[in-house]
């Protein structure tokens, strides 16, 4: 087992990893930017190294400084968390080359799966159901139009290197295709340095269902059931839950098997998520693999009782999976609300100083946060203040717990999206069960009209 791990991240996920390390008896090194010197993740770690100024690209994403920090502190391994360097194949590769274990998949896995178009092609070849779409990237307008017509409008243009909705365009009419492709390519190039795009059929009311998977060195692959992440705003997840109210036992089993098949087809290792898009009839399609631990992993931890971060660390250290598929049971229902610093009207991030922070407690409630009794939401980083997760014996108890916990949550000095979460949890459509990824955008549009 590792003796010392560097956590190449900040905020709640850095704390999350430090907690796992402490429970495993592993020493920790925090890295931080110049503005984060007083942060909780720095205080919780055994050692800490400043790696640059506030801007993430100069500190948390600064590969030479992060690796130098790993070298001068003599760590065996690096946990990247999510964001920053978590899906940077180059970083994973350099770690491998200097003999520091990158806690995650290999650089090849990251490279293959972060190219969405390439991953699509690979899965299609392996018999995984993928969304009807173009074979690989498109470029000349004529053939694009032919493909789109064959798929039938509306279609969606997606960036191969994409994520978070960038480089995406929905096209409803033939005549808008060419311009949409152009602008998607431009945006993709600007955002990711690679302008390649591909086409897929566009579903109007899909559900976002993802399976948490873990694989070890020996090729053992286990899934931890699904998360339903359909409550999104502009492709950003807002609420996640497990199990999905849209699946029955048969479908759950089938999709779980496909998720495992996806990971086996690339000989995956460590934690990853297989994302599916599902239509109203229960037909599902592979979308992509996230080659990192995700924000919403805590939902799965609550509902299965498994510590995914510790499992990640154990696997990275060469141990075999400590669970078999039959050990992974759904013990109830869990829901996560991402509490963000957010302007209540414009719904934009609003950083600032939290003058009082007091998280809810009691049965079935878990809070992951890097806030103390006060705290700062820095404009340099993402605006998430806390993850609030509620567990109950069934969905209705989990919902009731979340609502009372939201009422208890004290965050003063700054605006946050707790009122929005209340609106969603109080909404009859959400309470009833499955919603599509357009539920929240519709709710907010109605509101603003």
């Amino acid at each position: 087992m590792f003796k010392k791990i560097l956590i190449a991240n900040r905020g709640e996920i850095a704390l999350r990893v430090i907690r796992a390390c402490r429970e495993l008896g592993i020493r920790t090194v925090a890295i931080h930017s110049e503005v984060d010197g007083e942060s909780l993740h720095v205080r919780y770690a055994d050692e800490h190294v400043c790696v640059g100024p506030a801007e993430g690209s100069l500190s948390y994403r600064n590969i030479p400084n992060v690796l130098s920090a790993a070298e001068i502190t003599g760590v065996d391994a690096i946990h990247p968390g999510y964001g920053f360097l978590a899906e940077n194949a180059h970083f994973a590769e350099v770690c491998e080359s200097i003999g520091i274990t990158f806690i995650g998949p290999s650089s090849e896995h990251i490279a293959l799966l972060s190219d969405k178009s390439q991953a699509r092609a690979h899965m299609k070849k392996h018999g995984i159901p993928v969304l009807p779409g173009s074979d690989g990237e498109i470029d000349d307008p004529k053939s694009s139009l032919a493909i789109a017509k064959k798929l039938g409008f509306p279609v969606i243009v997606k960036a191969s290197a994409g994520g978070g909705g960038r480089g995406m365009r929905v096209v409803w009419h033939e005549e808008d295709l060419e311009q949409a492709v152009d602008s998607a390519q431009l945006e993709a190039y600007t955002a990711f340095g690679h302008g390649g795009v591909y086409l897929e059929r566009f579903f109007e009311d899909p559900r976002h269902i993802e399976f948490q998977v873990m694989a070890d060195q020996d090729g053992q692959v286990v899934h931890f059931h699904e998360r339903d992440c359909s409550v999104q705003r502009r492709y950003q997840k807002v609420i996640e839950e497990s199990p999905s109210p849209a699946l029955d036992e048969t479908l759950r089993k089938k999709m779980g098997q496909v998720a495992v098949q996806v990971m086996k087809s690339v000989k995956y290792r460590n934690a990853g998520t297989v994302e599916f898009l599902m239509d109203e009839t229960g037909k599902f399609y592979f979308m992509e693999v996230n080659t990192r631990i995700q924000v919403e992993h805590a939902v799965t931890e609550m509902v299965t009782g498994v510590d995914l971060i510790k499992e990640q660390i154990r696997i990275a250290a060469g141990q075999a999976l400590s669970y078999r598929q039959k050990d992974i049971q759904l013990l109830g229902h869990a829901i996560e609300c991402r509490i963000n610093a957010e302007d209540p009207v414009r719904l934009t991030p609003c950083p600032g100083t939290i003058t009082k922070f007091c998280a809810p407690g009691g049965p079935g409630i878990r809070v992951d946060t890097a806030m103390d009794t006060t705290g700062v939401v820095s404009p340099f980083y993402d605006s998430m203040i806390a993850k609030l997760i509620g567990f109950g014996r069934d969905r209705s108890e989990a919902l009731a717990r979340m609502r009372r916990a939201l009422d208890e949550f004290v965050i003063e000095g700054i605006h946050c999206n707790i009122p929005l979460h209340r609106r969603i949890l109080d909404h009859p459509e959400f309470q009833k069960g499955p919603v599509s990824t357009r539920f929240l955008d519709r709710l907010l549009t109605l509101q603003s009209v």
Binding site: E34, V35, V49, P53, T73, P351
Partner: protein, 152 residues
């Protein structure tokens, strides 16, 4: 009146009410607070003894620039990278500079090794080396002060 001022005033009024005060004054930044309650009930009690110094600063939103040292005209040379600090180019060589030495802008002061690369750190101005702040072969983090220079 800006909303924030209005809220501030309302807060003060609330405190005034809550603690039945006569007067409540607040100045910001340099901090000046005055509370007053008129008329006081009768009693006997002797003098004020302790006034605690208030503390509590929060982590700041703005990047903390290296603090000016006490003698603020001095120039601090900080490490621009994370790595290991060496005062000489090899274990057998003399240090690049000693305390008291005069240096020229651009002159190499030390090496910070990172990822097997030797990064030469140069003087940012002509001046005199007042203090070497780190011992050779020590790990240094980003922004860590290495030398104090008295610029000429």
């Amino acid at each position: 009146m800006p909303d924030s001022s209005r809220r501030e005033i309302e807060d003060l009024v609330e405190l005034l009410n809550q603690y039945h005060l006569t007067e409540l004054e607040l100045e910001k930044k340099g901090m000046r607070i005055r509370v007053r309650r008129d008329p006081a009930p009768t009693f006997t009690s002797s003098g004020v003894e302790v006034v605690k110094t208030p503390e509590a600063h929060l982590p700041s939103l703005t990047p903390s620039s290296p603090q000016p040292s006490e003698s603020s005209h001095l120039l601090t040379i900080s490490s621009p990278i994370v790595g290991t600090f060496y005062r000489a180019s090899s274990p057998d060589s003399d240090p690049y500079v000693e305390e008291g030495a005069l240096v020229k802008k651009g002159q190499v002061l030390c090496i910070v090794e990172a990822m097997k690369l030797m990064n030469e750190i140069e003087a940012e101005a002509d001046g005199k080396v007042i203090k070497v702040l780190v011992e050779s072969t020590t790990p240094v983090e980003f922004g860590q002060p290495l030398f104090l220079i008295d610029p000429l």
